[in-house]
Each structure stands twice: as C-alpha cells, then as structure tokens.
C-alpha cells in the first residue's frame, strides 16, 4: 500500500470523483423517482443510453453539436418519460413495486435490443466539443478539461436539485406527496401531474448524464446496462429515495472504486457490491435512509 506514491494517489482520487459524478447524477434521478412513484426505475440505464444516442443522432444527422444537445437530449428523453409514465406506469401505480420493476426492466431490454440491432455493440465515436479539448498538467497527473467540466456541471446539477427539493414550494409539495399523496391532493394539488413531472425530470437527468458521457466513452447500446447495476447499488447504499444520500454516496463510491483500482484492480468491479452487502447488514435502510 505504501508503494503507491502520494502523487499517484491524488490522481486516483480525482478520477474517482469524476466517475462518482456520473453515479451521483444517475442515482439522483433514481432516488427522486423512487421517492415519489415508489417505482424502481430499471430503464434508467437505457434512458441514459438514449440520451447519448440522441446527442449522437443530432450531430450525425442534423449537424447539431454538443451544447444544444445538452439541452435537447434531456428534453426529448423527458418527453418519452412523460409518455412512459402516462401510458404504462400509471396503470400499475399502487401495485407492489415489483410490477414497476418488471415493467421498466422490460422497457430497458426492448430499448437495448432495438439499439443493438440498429447500431451494433461496439458503438460510435462522439467528438468532444472543441472548447473542452486538451487538459491541464497538474504535476501529479494530466487532467483533461472535459473531465473538469463533467465534475463541475454534475455538482451544480446535484446541489441544484437538492436545493429545489429542500428549499422551494414545489419541493415541499414533492416531499409531502412522498409522505402522503392522498392528503396532499386533498389540499388541491394535482398529484398525478406532479408524478408525471417528477418522472420526466428523473429520466431527463439520466439523459443529461448520457450526453455528458458520450465524448468520454462510446455511444453504445450497452453503455447503460454496464452502469445501471452499480448505480442501483449506490442508491441502496445511500438509502432508497434519499436525495442527499444518493449524491453523497455517488461521489464517495466513485472515489472508493478509484482507490480499489490502485490497490487491487481485479476487485474494482465488485468493491461497490461488497460495501452494499456490509451496509445492508449494518443499516438495512441505507446510510441516509429513514430507519423503518
């Protein structure tokens, strides 16, 4: 352990933080959706992939670049979210959460299958926007500008979402509806519409993360499937439905995974699940969840 120089360690911590920002963005959306809809949104990864594909399609077919895509892709996927919520999820509301899980899992499989069929599995390259190419030599590592951007923008989005839910009237309705939906609707608040908006917002966050990821990784049909299981572990560790929990856990686990890649790389894909098992044993409701 001491053989690793301190400088390399700083680099790994930073990289962990970058990966953590993806975990945080995705688990944030999942947490919001679970909090209000009580749906374990298994198609979150597929919608993240869809966000990346929308960005790719905009560039490839319409010549629309990265910056507009950052707005358009979440909007488009958010609209799809509205359709999914209105036509499918609404029909199973009130049933056991297992139904929602199966339904969204099915949607994920369909989306992935269709895109694999169309585009193959290796994926397509997506060029980085020219403004964010290159990087900074920090002495202990070379830090690509794009990664700095990713970390910054995800922090802003995460903190922003948290502030909205904690500090605004909409947020207070949202929290109240999570606690007791029928009481909130008795006060004249349109709960079904709020549910739709929440779901759309959650999946739009996933699409946003997808666009962020497109230049770093490849735009590939399986990019979501590779990530979603980890993100679920993050949500479970943070406490299902806890917004602040998912943000903090996302970043922390990214760092933990980064460190594992230094000390015992073979376990880097498993370390998060080990943590999940331990947390479930010690605090079954998750680190930030309310104890039942």
């Amino acid at each position: 352990m001491l053989a690793v120089p301190l400088q390399a360690l700083f680099g790994q911590l930073l990289i962990g933080l970058i990966n953590g920002s993806f975990y945080a963005l995705l688990s944030l959306g999942l947490a919001i959706i679970f909090g209000l809809l009580n749906v374990i949104n298994f198609c979150h990864g597929a919608l993240y992939m869809l966000g990346a594909f929308v960005a790719w399609g905009l560039l490839e077919k319409a010549g629309i670049g990265y910056w507009p895509a950052l707005l358009i892709a979440p909007l488009a996927v958010g609209l799809l979210g509205v359709v999914i919520e209105r036509t499918l999820l609404r029909r199973i509301s009130g049933l056991d959460p297992l139904y929602g899980l199966l339904l969204t899992f099915g949607i994920a499989l369909i989306l992935q299958g269709v895109f694999s069929n169309w585009f193959g599995s290796s994926g397509m390259p997506y060029e980085m926007p020219s403004q964010l190419r290159g990087g900074q030599a920090l002495g202990f590592m070379f830090l690509p500008n794009y990664r700095v951007w990713v970390i910054g923008v995800s922090l802003i989005i995460c903190v922003g979402t948290w502030a909205i839910t904690e500090g605004t009237r909409l947020g207070s309705w949202l929290r109240a509806a999570t606690e007791n939906a029928s009481l909130v609707s008795a006060f004249g608040i349109n709960v079904p519409r709020m549910i739709t908006i929440t779901y759309a917002l959650g999946v739009a966050l996933a699409a946003f993360a997808g666009v962020l990821a497109a230049p770093i990784y490849r735009v590939s049909p399986l990019m979501g499937a590779d990530l979603i299981i980890v993100v679920f572990a993050v949500v479970v560790i943070g406490g299902m439905g806890s917004i602040i929990g998912s943000i903090v856990t996302g970043f922390t686990l990214g760092v933990l995974e980064g460190l594992t890649k230094v000390f015992y790389p073979e376990a880097s894909n498993t370390v998060i699940f080990v943590v999940m098992a331990i947390v479930l044993l010690v605090r079954p409701a998750g680190l930030f969840g309310k104890q039942a």
């Binding site: 990289i15 962990g16 599995s121 994926g123 990664r147 399986l222 990530l227 980064g258 073979e266």
Partner: protein
C-alpha cells in the same frame, strides 16, 4: 460377447460402411457473442460468413443439406458448454464454429472432444487451444495470442519500445496474451515494468492508464479486446498518454474496434491481423459480397475465419462422404491443403493450428483514408512459420504422440 451385442454390432457395421451423413443434414452451429462487447467482431457477421460458405458449396453435399444455426453464449463458459451439449445431443449439430472469448472456447473444445464432433475456432485467441489444451477435434483458424504477441510485440521492441506495462483483461485470453507477449519482449532484450489486471467489460480505464503513465514504460501493451480495447484507447487519447511520449500497443485490435474509435483517435496505432478486406483482389471481392449482406460493414478477421473454416470443413466432409466421426473429418481437413479467397493457400498442422501469414498494420490518419473502412496501411507481412508457435514448443500431447 453375447448374442444381442453381436447382433447390434452387425446392424451398426453396414451403417458405418455406408458412410452416411448424420441425420441427412450437415448442421453448422455458430456459437458466439450475439449481444455483448464482441458481437460486432463476431455476432451475426459470423453467421452470415458461415452461410456464405455453405451457399458456395451449393447448400448441399451429396444428398445432405447444409444448415446453419446460431446461439449467444454471452461470453460465459457455463452457458457456452451447455449450448454445445444441447446442440450435439439434441439438435444434431455436427460442427461448432467461431466461439470468441477464450474461456468459453476452452470449455466448448472439451465438450466437442468428448462427443467426437468438430470445433472450428475463429474468435478465440488463446494459444492453449493448440497447446496444452489441444484436441484432435479442434482446428484453430484465424489467429492466436502467440502470433499476436510475435507480430506486434517484436515490431514494437525492434522500433525501440523496450520497456512495457500491461493492461490485461482478467481472464484466460488476457493472461495468455500477456504471458506470450512478455516472453517475446524479454527474449528481444526488453523489460516488463508492471501491469494491471482489469475485470472484463470495464468502462473507465483512466485510473489504470494513470498507473501505466507513472510506470514510465515506453510501451503500454493492451492485452484486452473489443469494447475494453476501445475504452482504453479512448481514455489514453483523452489523458494525453501518447502525447506524453508513451506508445500504445493494441495486441488484439479488430477492424470493428477501429471503426468504433474513429480514425481521429485510432490513427498511428500498430496492430496485427491475419485478414484485412482491402489486401488483394480476392479479399476485396469476397468482402464486397459480405458487405452487401451486412449493410455495408466490412468483415473482421474473425468473420473471414469463420467463412474460410466452414468452407474447408465442407470440402473435407465432401471428400470423406461423411460427417459422423469428428476426428476423421479433422484428420481429413489436415490432409487437404486449404484454399479460399480470404486467406489464400494454407495448411492445418497436426496440433490443429491453421497456418497462414500474419500482417502488421498501421491505422491511417483521417487524411490518408479514402472512404469508409479504408483504415490500414500494411507495414510488414510475417510468414506463417515465423508468426505462429513452432510445432514442438506448444506442449500439445497430439504432437508428442506423433513425434518419433
């Protein structure tokens, strides 16, 4: 011997002498990754390639029709060997083809050997298939870790890359490739400074590349494949590894990977393949036919290998007038010289190794490429006997038995 057994045997004898085709159909099973990270370099393209070979033989041999089926082994050895068993026992499959992912291929080779059928390996890389784990029922067609290590590794060391750091996929294939390349590097006077074993299907390689960077090795050897290689190369370009003076050696890079990376990122990469669609008139003609059926995609060497191997298998079955005895078919394949548009003339060695040259390519810069799929410049042709492991060095029991 009791009377009943004798009666049964006498019934069986004329059947064997008639040398029939099992079930009146020669059933070819293409077993590979249909949905995961190796689906583009093998997948449906391999199925199409096998069908093209079957059609070239007229879709029929004697009075038996040739049929091609396929399945997804999901890169899992247990799934692969279960399908292989079911195909052979229940569905009457005579020959299993392709099987990328070395760990799955090793499992399938064992099943095929136990059932005395034929295994034509195109996708897998591990040189153990014709070494310690060689089988009288296996032909290993397209390439192997030894040939990759020798072609790419030697070229890198010769051009000054004498210190290495490995990024290795943590399963049979990556380990074999790292082992074979290490042998090449040290034999040529180079040194291996370290390495990282990463899990199969890793998304983020930046952390591993940072370790490679701090090792100060001149060459970073990528002992991985498919999506893992693509992600490594992308991250390396992002983190300025090549600009910092270190070189990347893609020990197993397929043309589909280069396609996914784009020339902007992949340019200058040195790699080895046994087949490139734009090599000569014959490969171009065949690849064009393939592309017409695959939406314009050019074949990978794995897909070309499936085509050539199936074609040669069918020729052997035709000569033998039987597909019943897998070992006999493979013996016949070894006896006949191979000749096909994808690999030209070649032979199959006693240990099951198909012999053909390997080619060292460099990926073109975007400005040099004339159109889609125009990706490689030929650097060097390595003759078969230099590229592949000498017959007596593989510890294959088949060879030891035949040695006098």
């Amino acid at each position: 011997m009791n009377a009943r057994l004798a009666l049964l045997l006498s019934l069986a004898l004329p059947l064997a002498a008639r040398a029939d085709f099992t079930g009146k159909v020669i059933k070819i099973g293409v077993l590979n990754d249909q949905s995961g990270l190796y689906a583009d370099l093998a997948g449906q393209g391999s199925v199409t390639a096998a069908k093209m070979a079957a059609e070239e033989m007229g879709g029929k041999i004697g009075d038996a029709s040739v049929e091609v089926i396929f399945a997804d082994h999901q890169n899992k050895p247990d799934v692969g060997s279960t399908i292989a068993r079911q195909w052979i026992d229940v569905d009457g499959v005579d020959v299993i083809v392709d099987v990328p992912t070395s760990s799955v291929a090793l499992a399938v080779a064992q099943v095929v050997k136990d059932k005395n059928k034929v295994f034509l390996a195109s996708g897998p890389a591990t040189s153990d298939l014709t070494g310690k784990a060689c089988s009288p029922n296996t032909v290993h067609w397209t390439y192997d870790t030894y040939a990759l290590a020798h072609t790419t590794g030697t070229a890198e060391v010769q051009s000054g890359g004498d210190t290495w750091f490995f990024l290795t996929a943590d399963y049979a294939f990556g380990q074999a490739l790292e082992r074979d390349t290490t042998a090449v590097v040290t034999a040529a006077g180079g040194k291996v400074l370290g390495g990282v074993k990463h899990p199969l299907n890793t998304t983020d390689f930046s952390s591993f590349l940072l370790q490679a960077q701090s090792s100060k090795a001149k060459v970073i050897g990528l002992a991985n494949a498919g999506g893992d290689t693509i992600n490594s190369i992308k991250a390396a370009s992002e983190f300025g590894i090549v600009k910092g003076g270190q070189r990347l050696a893609g020990l197993l890079v397929f043309i589909t990977d280069v396609h996914a990376l784009g020339l902007q990122t992949a340019q200058g990469l040195i790699l080895s393949e046994s087949f490139y669609w734009d090599r000569d008139d014959k490969t171009r003609a065949w690849s064009k036919k393939f592309g017409a059926r695959m939406g314009g995609k050019m074949p990978s060497m794995v897909q070309a290998g499936v085509y050539a191997a199936v074609l040669h298998y069918l020729k052997a079955v035709k000569a033998l007038k039987s597909d019943a005895d897998g070992k006999a078919v493979v013996d016949q394949m070894k006896k006949l010289g191979t000749d096909d548009p994808a690999f030209g003339k070649g032979t199959i060695r006693a240990d099951g190794r198909k012999m053909h040259p390997m080619y060292l390519y460099e990926v073109k810069a975007p400005s040099e490429s004339k159109g889609p799929w125009d990706y490689y410049k030929l650097k060097k042709e390595v003759p078969a006997n230099e590229a592949f492991r000498p017959l007596d060095k593989g510890e294959c029991p088949l060879v030891a038995g035949s040695a006098k």
